[in-house]
C-alpha cells in the first residue's frame, strides 16, 4: 500500500528562487484553469466578479501554502478537493451538481499532475526544467477545459436520476485511484488488482451511459411526435369550429326563411314565394368552394387552407388530379398540406409577388405534391431545417420537420429547392395499397 501520508511530492523548492517564482506562476495558471472549468458547470451571471476573484485568490493561497509547507500527497489532494468544493458554493445550483463538478474538475487535474510527475521522474529533470514541464502540464489541462467548453451542449446543472448518480460519480473517483496506482512507484499487487477492477467497472458504465443516450433519443422522438400531433389536432379543431359556426348560421337563417315562407303561403302569394325560394337557392350556391376533387378529405383541407391564404392576401392557383380515395391517411395529409400552406403563406407575407402555386397529381401510384411561392430575404438553413425569417425560430423548424416525418411514413421524399427567390417544394408519397403504415392516431 503506498504511503500517502509520508510521500513527498517532487516539487520541494525555495520560494523566492527563479524556480520558486515559476512554481507560483504555474499555480496561478492552474487556478485560472480551475476558474474556466468551474464556468462549464455553473452559471456565473448571479455572482459578483469581486466575490469570485476573492474566492479564487484564497484558493490559490491555500493551495500554494499547503503544497510548500506540507508537500505530502494526501494533504494536498484533500485540500484541493475541499477547496474546489467550497468554491462551488459561490454559485447557485443543486447539491448534486456541486459534488459532481468537484469530482469532474479534480480528477483530470490530478491525472495531469501524475502524468507530469511520472514524466519528470523518468527524465530526472532538476528544479528549473521541472517547473517548465509543470507549465506544459497546466497547458494540457487548459486545452482539455477548452475542448469541454466547446463540446458542452446542455446545461450541466440538472436533475440526476438516482440510478445515474453512482455510475457518474464513480468514474472520476475511479480515475483518481487508477492514476495514483499507475503513477506511484510503491504500489503492491493488490492495489493494481483493485485498479483493474475499477477499469472494468468503467467499461460497464460506458455501456450503461450509451444505453441511457439511446433512451434519451427515443424520448426526444416521442416528444416531437406529440408536438406534431398537437398541432394537427388544433388544426382539426379549428376546422370543426369553423364548420360548426357555419351550421349555426345556416340553422339560424333557416328558421327565418321558414317563418317568411310560412306567412307567404298563408296569404297565398305564390309568386312572391317562388321569388323567395329562388333567392334561397342562390344563397346556397355561393359557398366559397375552391376545389372539388371528389376526395372529401383533401377538399376540406384544401378549401380551408386556400381560404386562409386568400385572406392573408395571397393569390392561390391549384391544379389537383387525384382520385376520390387515396391510401394516404387524412391525418398525414393534413399535416403535410397544412404545414406546406402555412410555410407558403408565411413566405408571401414579406414579398410583393404573393402567388402561391399548389399541385397534387397521382401518377403510377405515386402521389406528387408541389408548392411554390416567392419569399424574401435569406432563409436560415440550419441542419437541413428552415428557420423562419420571423421570430419563432424553433417553431418554423418543426413545421417542415413534421412534413418530413409524415412523408417518411409513406417511404416518400421531400425535395426543397430555393432559387431566385422562389421556394419550391416537391413531395413524393407512395400511394401503396396495404402499405405498412402504422396509424399514429
Amino acid at each position: 500500500m503506498f504511503d500517502l501520508f509520508t510521500l513527498h511530492g517532487p516539487f520541494s523548492t525555495e520560494l523566492l528562487s527563479p524556480a520558486g517564482t515559476l512554481f507560483i506562476l504555474n499555480n496561478l495558471f492552474r487556478i485560472y484553469v480551475a476558474y474556466r472549468f468551474v464556468g462549464i458547470f455553473f452559471d456565473r451571471s448571479g455572482v459578483s466578479k469581486t466575490r469570485e476573484m476573492v474566492a479564487f485568490f484564497l484558493y490559490f493561497l491555500i493551495n500554494s501554502t499547503t503544497y510548500l509547507a506540507f508537500n505530502i500527497l494526501i494533504v494536498t489532494m484533500l485540500t484541493n478537493i475541499f477547496s474546489i468544493f467550497v468554491i462551488t458554493f459561490l454559485y447557485k445550483s443543486r447539491l448534486s451538481t456541486k459534488v459532481l463538478a468537484t469530482l469532474l474538475i479534480y480528477a483530470p487535474a490530478l491525472c495531469v499532475e501524475i502524468l507530469v510527475y511520472i514524466f519528470l521522474l523518468s527524465l530526472d529533470f532538476d528544479g528549473d526544467m521541472a517547473n517548465l514541464v509543470l507549465i506544459i502540464g497546466s497547458l494540457i489541462l487548459l486545452l482539455v477545459v477548452m475542448l469541454l467548453e466547446r463540446a458542452k451542449a446542455t446545461s450541466l446543472d440538472r436533475e440526476i436520476k438516482s440510478k445515474s448518480w453512482l455510475p457518474l460519480m464513480f468514474i472520476p473517483v475511479a480515475s483518481v485511484f487508477i492514476s495514483l496506482v499507475l503513477g506511484m512507484p510503491l504500489t503492491s499487487f493488490n492495489w493494481v488488482v483493485v485498479a483493474l477492477l475499477f477499469l472494468l467497472s468503467i467499461n460497464f458504465i460506458a455501456f450503461y451511459l450509451y444505453d441511457a443516450l439511446g433512451r434519451y433519443y427515443v424520448e426526444e422522438n416521442e416528444k416531437q411526435l406529440l408536438i406534431q400531433q398537437n398541432e394537427a389536432y388544433s388544426r382539426q379543431f379549428e376546422l370543426i369550429q369553423q364548420s360548426q359556426q357555419s351550421i349555426r348560421m345556416i340553422r339560424h337563417d333557416m328558421k327565418n326563411h321558414m317563418m317568411t315562407m310560412n306567412s307567404l303561403v298563408a296569404i297565398g302569394d305564390r309568386q312572391e314565394l317562388f321569388e323567395y325560394m329562388k333567392k334561397i337557392n342562390a344563397n346556397i350556391e355561393t359557398e366559397t368552394v375552391h376545389v372539388d376533387t371528389g376526395n372529401h378529405y383533401v377538399d376540406s383541407i384544401l378549401n380551408y387552407k386556400i381560404e386562409e391564404a386568400i385572406r392573408s392576401g395571397a393569390q392561390v392557383k391549384v391544379e389537383i388530379h387525384i382520385p376520390d380515395k387515396l391510401n394516404i391517411q387524412a391525418f398525414d395529409l393534413n399535416v403535410i398540406i397544412g404545414n406546406l400552406f402555412d410555410n407558403a403563406i408565411e413566405g408571401c407575407k414579406e414579398v410583393e409577388d404573393k402567388r402561391i402555386r399548389f399541385d397534387m397529381v397521382l401518377d403510377r401510384s405515386m402521389l406528387f405534391i408541389k408548392v411554390q411561392n416567392h419569399y424574401d430575404g435569406p432563409l436560415n438553413r440550419q441542419k437541413g431545417e428552415f428557420l423562419s425569417t420571423k421570430g419563432n425560430e424553433k417553431l418554423r423548424g418543426i413545421g417542415l420537420r413534421s412534413v418530413q416525418s409524415a412523408v417518411s411514413i409513406y417511404d416518400g421524399t421531400m425535395d426543397v429547392e430555393t432559387k431566385n427567390g422562389v421556394f419550391d417544394v416537391t413531395i413524393l408519397l407512395y400511394n401503396q395499397a396495404n402499405s405498412n403504415v402504422h396509424s399514429n392516431l
Binding site: 376545389v291 391544379e319 382520385p323 402555386r357 403510377r364 406528387f368 425535395d415
Partner: protein, 241 residues
C-alpha cells in the same frame, strides 16, 4: 409529323377542339395532323388497323364505349405507352380507374384554350425527348433501337438484355455505361441488374415497380433513394409559378 386524335361523342366539342388546335398549329408553326373521332369504337378500330397517334384527347363519358374503356384497351390490349392520353371531362372529380391508364393530364370541360395549349406543348416536348435512339454494338456492327420501344434493360453477367415491346436483344456491356449513355431522365436504375423506362412503369412502390406488362421488378434497398430522387426530378420540370 405529330398526330393528334380528338375523340368525343359531341360533334360541337370535337369541332371546337379542332379549331383551337389548328390555331396553335399556326401560332407555333407546328407539323400537326388532327383527326376527329365521334366514338370510342371508331377510335379503337382505327388504332387496331395500325394507325398510330402521339396525342389523344379523350372524352371520359361517351355512350357505349366510354373514355376509360378506350384508354384501357390502348394500354392493356394494344400495349401502347407512347400515346399520350388527355382525359376531357365535365366532372372535376376523378376515379381511380382513370389513373390506372396513365394519362398525361386532365382537361375540364368546357375546354379552356390556354389549358389545351399547355397540354399540347407538354405532349410535344415529351415526344421530342423520346425520339432518340439507343445505339449499341454486337461484334463489329452498330445497331439502334428507339428509346420509346425499350421497356427495360437487364444485365446478366457480362451481357445486357434489351427488353423491347416486341423482342429481346442482347449485347455485351455494362449497365452503368448504358445508364451514362442514355442520360436524361427516361430510365431509372432500380436494381443492380435493372434499368427501367419510366414510360413502361404501371405502378411504382417504394420497394418494387410493376411494368405495364404486369412484370414485377424489385427495387433494392440501396437504390430506393435514387429512385425517389429520380421521380421527383422528373416531376419538377413540369410546373412553374
Amino acid at each position: 409529323m405529330f398526330r393528334i386524335a380528338v375523340c368525343d361523342d359531341e360533334p360541337t366539342i370535337v369541332a371546337d377542339m379542332e379549331r383551337m388546335l389548328t390555331r396553335f398549329k399556326e401560332k407555333h408553326k407546328l407539323d400537326l395532323e388532327i383527326v376527329a373521332f365521334l366514338s370510342g369504337e371508331e377510335l379503337c378500330k382505327t388504332l387496331e388497323s395500325g394507325e398510330a397517334f402521339h396525342l389523344l384527347y379523350l372524352d371520359v363519358c361517351m355512350k357505349l364505349m366510354d373514355g376509360i374503356e378506350a384508354s384501357r384497351k390502348i394500354r392493356e390490349e394494344y400495349m401502347d405507352e407512347s400515346l399520350q392520353i388527355v382525359y376531357v371531362s365535365s366532372s372535376k372529380s376523378h376515379t381511380m380507374q382513370m389513373f390506372e391508364n396513365r394519362p398525361m393530364n386532365f382537361l375540364p370541360k368546357p375546354v379552356a384554350e390556354e389549358a389545351l395549349e399547355r397540354t399540347l406543348l407538354k405532349a410535344l416536348s415529351l415526344w421530342e425527348r423520346n425520339q432518340s435512339d439507343f445505339e449499341f454494338q454486337i461484334g463489329k456492327r452498330q445497331y439502334r433501337v428507339k428509346i420509346n420501344e425499350i421497356m427495360y434493360f437487364e444485365s446478366d453477367n457480362k451481357k445486357i438484355l434489351i427488353h423491347t415491346i416486341v423482342n429481346t436483344l442482347e449485347f455485351y456491356g455494362k449497365l452503368s455505361l448504358v445508364e451514362k449513355q442514355l442520360g436524361g431522365n427516361h430510365f431509372v436504375w432500380i436494381h443492380k441488374s435493372f434499368l427501367v423506362n419510366y414510360m413502361y412503369i404501371r405502378e411504382a412502390m417504394y420497394d418494387e415497380i410493376i411494368l405495364s406488362t404486369g412484370l414485377r421488378l424489385p427495387i433494392t434497398q440501396t437504390f430506393r433513394k435514387g429512385v425517389r430522387d429520380f421521380m421527383v426530378q422528373r416531376r419538377k420540370g413540369d410546373l412553374h409559378v
